[in-house]
Structures are given as C-alpha cells and as structure tokens.
Amino acid sequence: MEKRRLPEPFMEFEDLRQGLTAEMVTPFKQHVSDLLHAHDLIYEQKRDALAAAAVGSLPYPPISAAARELLQSGVLCVLGEGAAPYHPRYVAPDYARILHEGSPFLELKPAQTLFDATTSLLTAYKYFPAGGLPVFIGRLDELLEPYIDTVSPETARQVLKSFWLLVDRLNPSGFVHADLGPAASKTGALLLDVDRELGTITNLTLRYDPQHTPQEFALQAISNALGVTKPYFLNHPAMAADWGEDYVIASCYNALPLKGGIYTLVRLNLKRAAEMADDDPERFLDETLPEIGKNWTEVIASRARYIIEDVRWFEDNFWIEEGLLDKHKFSAYAGVFGLAEAVNHFTRTDAHPEASYGHDKAANRLAERITTRIHEVLEDNPVASCEGTDGKACYHAQVGITSDLDTTPATRVPSGEEPELYEHILTEAPTHKWINGGISTILEFDQTAAQNPAAVLDIIQGAFKAGIRNLSIGSANSEFVRVTGYLIRRADLEAHKAEKALRYSSAALGSGVMENHPNHLHRIPRKV
C-alpha cells in the first residue's frame, strides 16, 4: 500500500506579496479539508495546523524584491512561522517573579511551598505567549530550590515527579526546554533522577562550569545523558562571556536573554548560497555573503517590525505589564545550516573527492572562514529592533527540518561521516566561536562509557577548552535519539511509520527528518 502523504502543517503561497489568491482558494480548501481528515493527527495538532494554514494565507510583511527572490528560491526561509508572524517565536519569561510576587493576571499568589511553586509554573506554561508551546520552562533548579525543604524529602521527590510528568503530558513536545546548573542543588539532582525514571522527551540543558559544577552532579548528568540522551552540556563560561549570567537555553538549544524573546528565526541555506558563487569561495565570502546579508537582515527587521508595530504584541500583554518579559531584551535569529555542503561545494573536486568538511584541513579552514564572515556580515547590518543583542541579529546554527533533503543541520559534519572523536570536536569547535545564539555538536558513545562517566567528562572538558559551546551526549543504543536538536523515541518513530496518531507533535516532525535522513540513526558511536 502506498504511504499516504501527510498534509504539511502550513502552506506557502507562490506570491509572497499577495498571500492567498483567488486561484489558490480551491487547493487551500483542500489543504484545510486534508487537515480535518488526517487520522494521524490528534485534535490539538489539527487545530495548530489549521491556525498555521490561516496565517500562511496572509501576505508577507513588505520586503524588497531581492529579499523576496531569496525567500522564493529557498536561500532564505522562515521555518514554519507562517507568512505574517503574530507573536515572537521564543520568549524566556522571568518565572521567578511569578513565584516571588504572584501574578495578578493569572490570579496566582506568591508561592509558599513546593506545591504552590510547581502549580504556579504549570499555570504559567499554559499561557505561554509564543509558539503554542512553552519552549522555555525555566531554570528549574534555581526556581524550585527555595521551596524544596518546605516538604519532606520523600514528598519533594513525589511532587517533582508529578510536576515533571505533567510538564510532558500537558506540553508534549521535544521543544519544551528546562535549564539546570551550573551549581548543584537538591532540586537539580532530583529532577535528573525523575527525568531518568520517567523517560519523557522534555528537553534539558545543564549549564556546566568546571569551576562551579561539582563533579558528582556532572557525573549524574552524564549517566543520564548516556541513558536518555539529555541533558545537553552547555559551556557556561563561554556563554556567560557573551551573554552575562542572565541568558537561558530554550527549544532545541537556543540561547536568548532571560526576560527576553526572539521575534523570528530566518534561516540561510548555506548550500544554496554557496551555489550562487559558482566555484569561487573568495567570491562567496567577499560578495555573495555580504549581499545576502543585507536581504537576510531586511527580512528579519520586517518581521520584527510586523510583530511590534502591526500586531502590537507588546501592548495589552500581561507578560509585559507584570514585568515578566522586557521589550528591550528581544532579538531575532539569523540562523545558518548546511555549512558542510557549502564547504564541500567549493573543496570537493573529482580529483579530490576526499577534500571534505571534517576530513581536510583546507575544508575545515574554509568552514571557519565562512562562519566568521557571516558574523562580520551580521555586524555590518544592524537590526534596530534586536535590542537584546546590541542591535544586531543574533547568530544561530539551525538544526533543519523535514524538507531539508540535501543539507546537514547547522555547522555539523554529516551523520555517518564523522571523523575520529577529537578530530570531530576540533573540526566543529571553530564554527562555534561566533555562533552564540545556539549551536551544538552531537557525540554518541558505546556502552563502555556508562561504566566510566568520568571519561566522558574529560572529553566534555576537552571539547569546551577547544571552544565547543554545547554538546549533545548520548549512547548509540539509546531509545532516545537526538534528531537534530530535539529528542525522539525510537518507539514513536515506528508508530509514526505505521501512521498512528502520536501525543508528541515533534515526533511527527522528527519522523519526517528521519525518513529523509536515516543517517541520524547511524552516527558513528565512539568505541572506547
């Protein structure tokens, strides 16, 4: 039986200036009808897809012809945000304020106990003002530690377990993200413990600082990562050097200011961009990238302006009025992906097929030059609304979506082509240097690692010294696979293939990625 094609979650229309045109009404209705009838989407997923289709029917905010061309040819893309953004893509509310002072809008009093605190957080997540899902649920250890001793240790574990279960069941997605560390705490250790027990896919990051994260806490986190592929290990000193202490990690691995937000994520497909420069890498660096940079930031600025001035998102918004978010801490992502293909486009020749990213000094050097050049281009093209990052778009390495057939996420070496472990780290580390808005390198180990988590910590520390900002650690035979930035369970992959409805919307997304990139299941595990 031929596999039925799932309706795409949103629709792009041919002419960005017009949005839905008279000729497109019939296919649009068909799309809506397909969504209504989809058997493998549950109610919420249908509703979200319908909303996305509605937004997709509007014209894009005004942009120049050149920018439109780049969007239409796929060099730039807005990644499922829909044509007209009516909310920021990500926000990072100051949940501590809700716990300390309560929230008039949510009718919450200041929290007194662990019960109050977890109830208030779950309530706040429900009203998360961006993206349909709370992609940032707080620095949970810091938030809950003041309440952990308000109940007995046994009760504390039970409460955190129920809380963690509800976080997943009420917000079923691999893009829901909590932060831990750098300090150890009772709450942090308990959360790692219940996370391991429950096996949910809520994303987690440990902000690791060799000076402040105790070895024991780090080893607990590594043992978890080898079992359930999280938390991420974030190079906190490197991030704090750019952001100060008040930043968070949300969604996949995205960095943004605490109390701030990200209006939009506009992606640059480096493979397509490279093809615009024929075979000349110098032309790519000196002409193509600066040229694209103007239109790229123009699209970012126009989308941010739409949210701020057209939709007037900051007005009549309790998150702003209650001081939970701060307009001056907002920015937008300029995301890149397909670096490997861009580099290989220039370095791989018939005579030197092996001269590719990850395996060739000149290729690696070019990768570093490209990522540096993009940083300069973003510096040269300020976006006034990106106040949260000094008036410049925030540089981000984007992990890719189902339809990215021929590109590798972010700045990674393609899965299955990874060189020897240290070489792999040393290849990708220089590309982390300027990309402070979120990036990660994925390392998978074989099962001997579980017997010696301290050895994995050595490698993490070495990677951080080399300049890696963020590592996804996992083991090759885990039930949990890091698709690109979020997690998916192997069982969900199978269910999706069998066209069963899934609780996790991100699993459907992940299954699509996996079908197009089965190599994510064949990363090279590190034998030790």
């Binding site: 020897e420 472990l421 240290y422 780290i425 099962q447 001997t448 690692a449 017997q451 010696n452 301290a454 050895a455 994995v456 910590l457 050595d458 490698i459 520390q461 070495g462 990677a463 010294k465 080399a466 590190r526 030790v528």
Partner: protein, 282 residues
C-alpha cells in the same frame, strides 16, 4: 648520556578502560610472560630483522634495512599478514621514540584526557625510558601517570619511575603459584612483591584478573585471590575481566568464555572474602 629509546607497538588516543577517566594508552613492545591465552602475541618479542615478513606484505609497505625493518605506515592496510608470518612473536610495525618525542605526541591530546597509561606487552621491560617519559608528563602537565604491569620485574624495577608515577594497575594472572607458572611461564613470587610494594606506596589503583577456565574461574580460585588481596588491604579494588576466546591463540581459542552469572558469582565470592570494591567487565 643518550636518551633511552622506547619501543612502542601502538598508541590509543582514548580509552575508557585503562584507569580513571579518559586516558591515552601507550602499548610498549616486548613481554616477559608467555600467557597461554595471549591475545597480542605480536607484542612479545623485539623484531630481529630476519626480513621474513617483508615478502608477504601485499602493499610492499615493509623494507629491510641493515639491521632493522622500515614500515611505511601511509600505505599499510593493517591486514596483519606480517604478524601472522613472523616466526618470533614480533611485529615490524613498531615505533621508536625518545621520551621527548612521545610526550610531544601525547601533549596534543592533553585537553581531552585525564592521564596517560602505559601498557603492553609489558612496560616494566623499558623502565628507564618510562621514568624519563613520566617525568616529562608530570613536569609539563597535570595529567596522571599509570603503569599497567604484570609485576614480574619486582619492586626494584619500578623505583626509578616512582617519583613520577601516580598509579599502578597490577595484572594478577593467577594467585596459585603452580598454576601461575603454567599459565604465564614465570613464577608468582615477584608479582606479589610488586603488588605489596605498590600498595605500601599508596599507588595500587587496581588489581585486575582475567577469568580463565581452569586457572582463575573456580570459586576456590577466587577465594584464594580475594583473601590474598584482602590480607594486603581490603580497600584494594579488584576488577574481573572476562576471558574471550576471540583473538586468542593456540588451544586457548577453544576455551569457553565465563557466563554473566558466573562472573557475578565470582564478584560476590570476592566481596564475601572481605574486598570492598569488586567489579567486572561487561
């Protein structure tokens, strides 16, 4: 005085099973035991440049010099034809290093490792070289140093490296004197002296033993081993490694690998004899 040269069979840039943390492991050429189940017989002898292997190399990666073999690593396929040919349990694929050259190579991966382990073969056959190498490691880095040794060389062999040595991992092949001699070709006494010596120095990181059918796999064998160790210090960590016939030579290739259940029984036996820390390989 010239620096002593170290003869190295190969170097592993990362290992999770050769001491604490992630370690570089340097496998030295040459061994003074002849274990019945040796998995790496090509590390036992020094090459005598007889030249026999040169002809068999399909890649022409080997050439015979005046009194040594030259090996062209770049074209070698690692097919192992040369070591199968060698009548002397040696290998033409070794490297000589000065202590400085070896440190230079290891220092590049320093950020990723916690320390350096030397193994073999049997590293205690090259103690002068190792003492200088360990000194360089300790003087130029915060890496830890570890020797994985069979202990046969006796305490005096290790004294030169002692100031630069953090830990020793002692391979106790068998705790029964007669069986030890049958298994390894050498007597047990000096092995035990070395073990006591390292323990007295506070440098005995671990004792390990391969669980081999007929030599170390009975409950009585384990009781004897564990009591011996507990008598020295109940804090000594014992790690039991499962014998695997794959890659073993001669009759030992027919021997059975102990089961998971049996490995667990032996771990319990050792604990029952007073050892506090006993673990086993997967």
């Amino acid at each position: 005085m010239n620096d002593p040269l170290g003869l190295v069979n190969h170097i592993l840039n990362k290992s999770f099973v050769d001491g604490p943390g992630n370690r570089a492991v340097i496998f030295m050429q040459g061994c003074n035991f002849r274990c019945l189940y040796c998995h790496n017989p090509y590390t036992i002898q020094y090459c005598n440049a007889c030249g026999l292997c040169v002809e068999t190399c399909p890649q022409h990666a080997l050439t015979l010099g005046k009194d040594k073999i030259f090996w062209n690593e770049d074209i070698c396929l690692e097919c192992d034809e040369c070591i199968r040919t060698c009548p002397s349990s040696s290998s033409p694929r070794t490297h000589s290093y000065t202590p400085e050259a070896l440190w230079e190579q290891i220092s590049h991966i320093g950020p990723f490792i916690t320390g350096v382990s030397v193994s073999g073969g049997e590293p205690s056959l090259q103690v002068a070289f190792l003492a200088q190498f360990f000194q360089l490691v300790k003087e130029n880095s915060t890496l830890t140093t570890l020797i994985e040794t069979n202990g046969f060389a006796g305490p005096q062999a290790y004294t030169a490296m002692l100031p630069w040595l953090d830990m020793a991992m002692l391979d106790l092949k068998c705790s029964h004197p007669r069986k030890h001699e049958k298994l390894t070709g050498q007597p047990l006494d000096s092995v035990l002296e070395s073990m006591r010596f390292f323990a007295a120095q506070g440098k005995l990181q671990q004792v390990q033993q391969v669980i081999v059918p007929g030599f170390t796999d009975s409950v009585e064998d384990m009781q004897r081993t564990a009591k011996l160790l507990a008598g020295v210090d109940p804090e000594i960590r014992l790690r039991l490694l499962r014998f695997r016939p794959h890659g073993a030579n001669g009759p030992s290739a027919e021997w059975q690998s102990p089961t998971d259940e049996h490995m667990d029984t032996l771990v319990e036996t050792a604990r029952g004899c007073g050892l506090k820390e006993v673990e086993r390989s997967l």
